[in-house]
């Protein structure tokens, strides 16, 4: 919808459209902005979004209000935002679940992760890790692979849920190494971690933020981190690559808006987000969460998403998890 000002401009509306769009962008935002988080409050995505929303609100001069709309593996909120007006007042925390895995996982997804959105910025990346019960005999990834071959039905590895990126990493781990794996899904990382600590399941595929505290406390032992280099906070934790397994994966969260966001608003948002992310205090808090600040321009982030969709499609296929 055109703002009322545009109608007041009278007969020259159509001729004046581009300049009005510019005027609108410089005036934007005149109202509070809604930042839709497609997960329940309290998780990594939610925390990251709240940290960013504070800084962003201050820089834009309008409050950025976080709205949690969990449901259907983050696809519910994503579908809603895809249909919202591209006026810069409705933003979404796009993420690996709704924009990386869902396109292959859900057969009837109601949005296209690339075409239906204006992608603005990558906010946070958190590497995936394999952690084990401290009493578990395997010392490294090679041990895990060898042990798993001796087990009649493979080695049990827990994850936060079927179709989650953590689950897919287990599948890919099996594909790459030939290890025999038996996936044990949970409702979220918390219950899965409980069972690893209780020695119900020997290993777990997790994101670093939900494992970090348990790793520091020695409640679980890190087996491998799926990043290209070791993580500064966990210098003793070797990467998969160091152990001869080419596995790099991380969870990611970014900022997106409905498709057709005026370029002026996209540019402004991209600049302001970059400024917020450059803040040392925020980078410190992101590091505490176990993540690294993302730095991608709007087109680079859109390209990144397209790459993730292509990457996970064959893994979802192999996992056998597909939702009607």
């Amino acid at each position: 919808m055109l703002p009322r000002r545009a109608w007041l401009a009278g007969g020259a509306v159509f001729a004046a459209l581009p300049s009005i769009a510019c005027a609108q962008a410089s005036a934007w935002p005149t109202q509070p902005i809604r930042l839709v988080v497609p997960f329940a409050p309290g998780g990594t995505t939610d925390l990251a979004a709240r940290l960013v929303s504070q800084g962003l609100g201050m820089r834009l001069g309008q409050p950025v209000i976080v709205e949690n709309r969990p449901g259907a593996g983050a696809t519910l909120a994503s579908a809603q935002v895809a249909q919202a007006a591209p006026d810069g007042l409705t933003l979404l925390v796009s993420n690996i679940a709704s924009h990386g895995v869902a396109p292959s996982l859900y057969r009837n997804l109601r949005y296209d992760p690339v075409r239906d959105f204006t992608h603005i910025a990558l906010l946070l990346e958190t590497p995936s890790v394999f952690v084990a019960q401290p009493r578990f005999p395997a010392r490294g990834i090679a041990d895990v692979v060898r042990l798993s071959r001796d087990m009649p039905r493979g080695i049990d590895i827990a994850s936060s849920g079927t179709g989650s990126s953590n689950h897919l990493l287990i599948v890919q781990f099996g594909q790459v190494t030939g290890a025999r794996v038996n996936h044990v899904p949970y409702r979220g990382a918390g219950p899965a971690m409980t069972d690893v600590i209780a020695d119900v399941v020997p290993m777990m595929s997790d994101s670093l933020p939900s494992s970090a505290g348990h790793l520091r406390a020695g409640a679980v032992r890190g087996m491998a981190i799926a990043s290209t280099a070791r993580h500064p906070a966990f210098p003793e934790l070797p990467s998969f690559r160091e152990q001869g397994v080419d596995l790099v994966a991380s969870s990611w969260f970014g900022l997106s808006a409905p498709a057709g966001l005026p370029p002026a608003i996209t540019g402004r948002l991209s600049r302001e987000v970059a400024a917020v992310l450059a803040d040392a205090a925020l980078q410190h808090r992101f590091a505490e969460l176990g993540g690294t600040v993302g730095a991608l321009s709007p087109p680079a982030y859109a390209e990144f998403i397209a790459g993730e969709v292509a990457r996970w499609a064959p893994v979802v296929q192999a996992s056998g998890a597909q939702v009607e």
Partner: protein, 499 residues
Amino acid sequence: MDILGNLAHGFSVALSFSNLLFALIGALIGTAIGVLPGIGPVATISLLLPITFGQPATTAIIMLAGIYYGAQYGGSTTAILLNLPGEISSVVTTLEGYKMARNGRAGAALATSALSSFFAGTVATVVVAGSGPLLTSVALSFGPADYFSLMLLGLIISAVLAQGSVIKSIGMVVFGVALGLVGTDVQTGQQRFTFGIPELSDGISFVALAMGMFGIAEIVLNLEKPEARSVLKTEVGSLWLTREEFRRATPSTLRGTLVGTVLGILPGGGAALSSFGSYMMERKVSKHRNLFGTGAIEGVAGPEAANNAAAQTSFIPLLTLGIPANAVMALMVGALIIQGIQPGPRMVEAQPDLFWGLIASMWIGNVMLLVINLPMIGMWVKLLQVPYKFLYPAILVFCCIGAYSVNNNVFDVYSTVLFAVFGYMCNKLKLEPAPMLIGFVLGPMMEEHLRRAMLLSRGDVMVFLERPISASMLAIGAIALIAMLLPNLRKGKEAALSG
């Protein structure tokens, strides 16, 4: 003893002016949102989360904990006065509490709820302080097979909850389990019974189900019968407990405290079992079990104590393992992480101020709630004297806001309406909603644990008998079933129900 020294340190932290102030603010906010039907602590805490960013970690967590307890207290108020439960624990409170209110004993029911909660909270705080780490190892000895057997036991005994026909009650439990299965299958990720509606993929909203079946259906029934509405305006009686009521409530409070303390420790859904576990116990062992269903004070005292004790001890997995037991705890973990504190086994040593300050403030929060709530009983009871034509639209509005606020989704408001219609039908057919809600909560957990146990045992059913905890639960369940069926066979159903 070291614990005394630690507790003293905790109190010195918690009794600082700002911490005391924020404990009070938290308790007040919590009570307020608890009283507003359906608006739960999750929505409130997530709104207040940004405020905590600028506070010291201890102050922040003390305030959030205050909201959590306050909501527990406040939730019982609406359950007793308006038959409106906001969570599974207050579902049980409606059973006897609302009946007491209708008998003109609303004040006594509210006082019982406040006093038994306070007592249980005090005991549980001492337990958390004294043996938290020890109890963690107990909780960790529960595997999926054990949880399954515990839930199964809960379901078997929940048939006792029925106040009418046992067959109908079993039917309702099974129907509740079926409703609980709606949503995404944890094992395969497939959607079940969702009819292609994305809003159903995470299951039916508990708040929508509970508010519809209890609160709103009750409003419809009240509107149907003008005389029922006037019952609410009858003499409210003495606000305080009579000596006789006090004597009856005391042993129930003690038993409820024990049940809640033990079950609250189990991270896999123990807290959900606590209040109706206590209710079942009271129906079986209390001296006045024949009064159950007509407003027995034991049925308020026991479950309220159990519920509050479990709310306290469910902090144990959070504080010692760093694993949140429910959505509110998950938010508290979030608040801590933002502050750069990772909850977990090392928190006791790394953050003694926070750990012991929180434990001390748990108790201080309970005292504050007692101080806030007891004088307010008179005011709440007066609420019932508000003409019904003003009261019920207000309740409906708050129910809608509450249903919406859980997931910020209008679909949940529609579900509430649907369940209100269903609840009304059930009332007409003399079908009890409480067993259905228990099936709804326990069914999916039971399925999850069953399938996980089977997945880990590679399909060997013997795992349920080989594990001692699981085997004992199953044995108790079998005995309960036989005890329930035997007199049935011999003397007919009535004897079984009254015995």
